[in-house]
């Protein structure tokens, strides 16, 4: 009886051990497969303030090895990229990927583009503010105007074009407003056209 009981326990343990052994192996396999496979991800991009900047963005990604720019959605300032995380961001934890990617894009674009997580606030909760401006039709000046508003707390997305004479911002109304946008632009040296 004792022997039988012992054998049973032994067998159960054996089965348990056997069942346990492939488990971590399988997990590791799955993880390895996830890192080695190319992934497609969407991110928000900063610095995409006018349509011509799409070409600059493509040029920037040409300088970043092993990352493919798949698509650009100018309206929402989002890009789709494809890369093998293990190759591009070796050793990075998932929450570090965006930060590293941002650094990579900033370096390649001389800090004129950046990467951030996709917007979480629904579009219907944002307010569109259009500020009429005047200035030189110069891409760098436009970048300056764009950055003046984009860096404000509560601005989720922005566009700027001196050619079209406007700076547009999608804002969280509870955090910012037109006056703050105009102030920031004026502080930067942008001539804000008074509206009736």
């Amino acid at each position: 009886m004792m022997l039988r009981t012992k054998a049973l326990v032994f067998m159960i343990l054996y089965v348990m051990i056997l069942s346990l052994i492939p488990l971590p192996f399988a997990v590791a396999q799955e993880k390895k497969g996830a890192k080695d496979e190319p992934v497609r991800e969407k991110h928000q991009v900063t610095g995409l303030f006018m349509a011509e900047r799409e070409a600059d963005l493509k040029e920037t990604f040409e300088k970043i090895p092993q990352v493919t720019l798949v698509a650009i959605d100018f309206e929402s300032a989002e890009i789709t990229v494809e890369y093998v995380a293990a190759q591009v961001f070796p050793g990075a934890k998932p929450n570090q990927v965006i930060e590293r990617f941002d650094n990579m894009v900033r370096t390649a674009s001389n800090s004129t583009f950046g990467i951030k997580p996709l917007r979480t606030i629904p579009a219907e909760k944002l307010t569109r503010i259009e500020v009429p401006v005047e200035g030189l039709d110069c891409k760098a000046c436009t970048l300056a105007a764009y950055e003046a508003v984009y860096k404000l707390d509560g601005v989720e997305q922005a566009f700027a074009s001196f050619r079209d004479g406007k700076v547009v911002a999608l804002i969280q109304p509870e955090k910012t407003d037109r006056a703050k946008l105009e102030d920031a632009l004026k502080k930067k040296g942008v001539h804000v056209v008074k509206t009736p």
């Binding site: 001389n110 800090s111 004129t112 005047e134 200035g135 030189l136 039709d137 110069c138 891409k139 760098a140 000046c141 970048l143 300056a144 105007a145 950055e147 930067k188 040296g189 942008v190 001539h191």
Partner: protein, 877 residues
């Protein structure tokens, strides 16, 4: 009764004079006594004492310097015919000659007695200029800056290389040690391979510089294919915002040319600051300039060739801001719409960069409401700036080889030599944040290796010391230095450190710091050294030293050939700069800034051009062996476009100085009418016939006037236009006490009144008060004019001998005819400069002989120079 007293006094005077003259040597008694009685005593008695001279009170003790000076003055006045004055009974020429000879003989003997057994040239150290040049040539470091850190030299007899001016103090000694260390730091090689050659293309609108900022605001534009760069539109109603955003966006790095409307000023210093030198050495510079006319957004052909200037700028402090000390490299042509490449090599030291200036442009006002798009005016474009270097044709560099010959450079191994201290090293680094060039990584400590230190030290010193000391060095002296080396070696220094210590000792020794010359007639090495310091301001080169070693330099023909060789060498520009800097005071060209209201057209480009003119003219006189008359008058000038415009001479374009035939009616020609001389002899607001006259008397004619009496105040200039300086002077000149001196000093100054403070020709004085509106003339249309035209200039006068002149042209003719006087002065200047001592009365005979010999063979200035160098004055200490 009065008559009796008067005649008694006169008798007494005569008696005293007689006694005094009796003390003269017998040979020269008779003439002076008779001469004085007949022509002098009436005015220069104790009673009348005209001009402050009482002949009866004059002592015959010529060993006393004051007495000697008085008698010398009497001699000169009699010899020149100035005394007795014209309105008195004139002695016959042979009487004058005899009297002058008698006094001269007395003065000569007195001076010879005083100088007997004494050397004429005292012990003298190297001047700052000589020290720097000597170290440069000795160590093959052609651009090392040293003189700026040394105490300023004094000056005596017009030159700083005079033994009377070259004292030495503990400050000098401390500075010599520092300078020697700096030189050895730069000379000694510390790496097995030369630094990587950097090739860098820099836009004038480089980041961290001034230009990007002014481009943003419309004082310039970026251009592509001679059109505004579409990526950087010219500033208009709105200017560019956020320079940082533009730098990140690459606005200034897209290969566009930079067009500038603005010249350098107190707040704007264009630098190519992205290359800051780390390694000293030769660098190749290549840049491209052109000019255009900007017309509110359009690029049109320029008004002519503009001038771009490049300078070597030494960054001080943290390198930020502008106004760092700089040295002009040159001015470069920027022709209309034609990209012109300028390529050259230059030596650069650590922390040095290249600066730019749109030199020929006026301070234009582009900041209207439409900025660049509202501006019309001249501009200079810089397409790019390439720097490449350091360039080494051999490694280790020649500086290192001069110290360590062919000894190998090996990695220092502290384990192999635990008792030997490693040489100290300061790793090369980029000290300026703006510099994008970086040093090479340095691995290990590399140093000279010697298997037989004492023998190698002896061998190296045997080669080094004679070069450093400019003469053979005996074994005993060398042994002392080898002993110093051995001491350091025993103290644990490595071979390099011990040798470095020894070299430093040599560079701070009197043998190096002083001109060591034997008393009396110079030996060959003394002569070689004098010759080399005369023309190169530095040590003899190998050929000259070899001739001295072989004892051939006292051969007249050899000396002549060497003189010509040294003068033809590039280094002789040191002589031209140094000699003219002192003889004609060119060093003081920047002593004051011309008043901006009165002379708004003045700028640095004009100043540098004027100095370049005088140097080129002197070089031309030497090269062509032109006569003494050319010192004051010529039918050509050495000018560039800037000077041609200033002088009103048509048909000259570009920055380079060239020989130009003067129009027949031109008031220019000769040193006196060169803008540099006219500027040096004026202050920033007004001219003074006295100052200019004194300059001409002293520097050109060799007749230095008496110093002004201490109780006579200087004349205050009147720039309001009410009174001319001549009118102010007239009052002064009419004072009998002043008249005699001013009769001599003022005439040259009157003639030169035709030229203003900056050397421009004038018929009326400029005024900032009363006067008529001034026509623009040749002044750049972008320069605002606020001065007016005041009273007319009167440039007429009479020479001291009464000959009249109606203006500067006639004055030049009169002076140019007195070639003997001009040559004598120049011979005296050459001899003073060459021998390092003042010329005295007893040298006059030799100078006269030099001039006579020169005149017999054409009277050319080069001939005169040869005669001086072949003379006893030059070849004797």
């Amino acid at each position: 009764m009065n008559a009796i007293v008067k005649s008694a006094r006169a008798m007494l005077c005569l008696m005293i004079l007689y006694v005094m003259i009796l003390s003269f040597p017998a040979s020269c008694r008779a003439q002076p006594k008779d001469f004085f009685e007949q022509h002098c005593i009436a005015c220069h008695s104790a009673e009348v004492k005209k001009g402050g001279l009482d002949l009866s009170a004059l002592k015959a003790d010529l060993g006393n310097a004051d007495n000697f000076a008085r008698w010398l003055k009497i001699h000169d006045r009699i010899e020149s015919g100035e005394m007795p004055p014209k309105d008195r009974k004139r002695p016959k020429a042979d009487e004058i000659a005899a009297a002058a000879k008698a006094i001269g003989g007395m003065l000569g003997k007195a001076e010879q007695a005083k100088l007997a057994g004494e050397v004429r040239t005292g012990v003298r150290r190297l001047t700052r200029v000589e020290y720097e040049n000597t170290v440069r040539d000795l160590l093959n470091l052609p651009g090392i800056p040293l003189q700026g850190e040394l105490p300023a030299d004094g000056s005596a007899h017009g030159f700083d290389n005079n033994s009377d001016a070259l004292d030495i103090s503990h400050v000098n000694l401390a500075k010599y040690i520092e300078a020697a260390d700096r030189a050895l730091d730069m000379a000694i090689c510390t790496q097995p391979k030369p630094p990587s050659v950097v090739t860098q293309r820099i836009s004038l609108a480089n980041s961290a510089g001034f230009v990007a900022h002014v481009l943003m605001h419309g004082d310039g534009v970026l251009l592509k294919n001679k059109k505004p760069d579409p990526d950087f539109p010219p500033a208009a109603k709105h200017h560019h915002i956020d320079q940082g955003a533009h730098e990140r966006m690459g606005s200034f790095r897209n290969g566009a040319s930079v067009g500038l409307f603005r010249t350098e000023d107190e707040s704007f210093h264009p630098y190519f600051i992205e290359f800051v030198t780390i390694y000293p050495g030769q660098y190749r510079i290549k840049t491209s300039f052109w000019a255009f006319q900007w017309n509110k957004g359009k690029v049109l052909p320029a008004r002519g060739t503009e001038a771009a200037r490049l300078s070597i700028v030494t960054l001080t402090g943290d390198g930020r801001g502008g106004g760092h000390p700089s040295t002009v490299l040159s001015y470069y042509d920027a022709p209309s719409m034609l990209e012109t490449v300028h390529e050259f090599r230059t030596w650069l030291n650590p922390r040095e960069i290249i600066g730019f200036n749109a030199a020929s442009l006026a301070h234009a006002h582009t900041r209207g409401k439409d900025n660049a798009m509202g501006f019309e005016g001249p501009a200079i474009a810089c397409d790019y700036f390439d720097v490449e270097g350091p360039i080494h044709d051999v490694w280790p560099p020649r500086s290192h080889q001069a110290l360590f010959g062919d000894l190998p450079l090996v990695e220092f191994d502290p384990e192999a030599s635990p008792k030997v201290k490693a040489p100290k090293r300061k790793p090369a680094r980029q000290e300026m944040g703006a510099g994008r060039n970086r040093p090479d990584p340095e691995k290990g400590i590399w140093s000279v290796k010697s298997d037989d230190p004492l023998q190698d030290a002896d061998r190296l010193l045997a080669k080094f010391l004679p070069r450093a000391f400019r003469r053979p060095v005996d074994a005993e002296t060398r042994k002392v230095y080898v002993g110093k080396f051995e001491e350091r070696l025993k103290a644990g220094d490595c071979f390099e450190t011990a040798m470095r210590w020894t070299y430093r000792a040599a560079l701070c020794s009197p043998d190096f710091l002083y001109h060591i010359e034997p008393a009396g007639k110079l030996d060959d090495h003394g002569l070689a050294s004098r010759l080399s310091y005369f023309f190169w301001r530095s040590m003899p080169d190998e050929q000259l030293a070899k001739l001295a070693d072989d004892g051939k330099l006292h051969d007249k023909e050899t000396l002549r050939k060497e003189t010509d060789r040294l003068l033809a060498h590039e280094k002789s520009k040191r002589f031209v700069e140094d000699f003219l800097g002192q003889w004609l005071k060119l060093r003081s060209i920047g002593a004051n800034d011309p008043d901006r209201k009165l002379y708004p057209e003045f700028n640095q480009y004009l100043q540098d051009s004027t100095v370049a003119e005088t140097r080129a003219y002197f070089r031309e006189l030497l090269d062509q062996n032109l006569g003494a008359g050319y010192l004051v008058k010529s039918d050509f000038a050495m000018i560039n476009e800037k000077l041609a415009v200033h002088y009103g001479i048509p048909g000259v374009s570009g920055t380079q100085i060239r020989k130009v035939k003067l129009p027949a009616d031109s008031p220019r020609g000769g040193f006196l009418t060169q803008a540099s001389i006219l500027r040096i002899t004026a202050n920033g607001t007004t001219t003074s016939p006295v100052t200019r006259g004194a300059f001409v008397m002293e520097r050109i004619l060799g007749l230095p006037p008496e110093p002004p009496p201490s109780n006579v105040p200087a004349i205050e200039p009147d720039v309001r236009g009410a009174k001319t300086i001549r009118e102010q002077l007239d009052k002064h000149r009419n004072d009998q006490a002043c008249a005699a001196c001013h009769a001599k000093i003022d005439p040259p100054g009157f003639a030169l009144e035709s030229f203003d403070v900056i050397g421009g020709f004038r018929e009326r004085y400029r005024s900032i008060g009363a006067g008529d509106p001034a026509p623009r003339g040749s002044i750049d249309p972008f320069i605002g004019i606020s001065f007016k035209l005041g009273p007319k200039v009167d440039a007429t006068g009479n020479l001291p001998d009464g000959r009249p002149f109606s203006g500067v042209g006639e004055f030049q003719k009169l002076i140019a005819d007195d070639r003997g006087l001009l040559l004598k002065n120049l011979a005296r200047q050459f001899a003073t400069y060459g021998a390092g001592r003042g010329m005295t009365f007893s040298d006059r005979e030799e100078i006269t002989a030099i001039v006579d010999r020169a005149q017999k063979t054409g009277g050319g200035i080069r001939t005169l120079m040869h005669e001086v160098i072949q003379s006893r004055l030059f070849a004797t200490r």
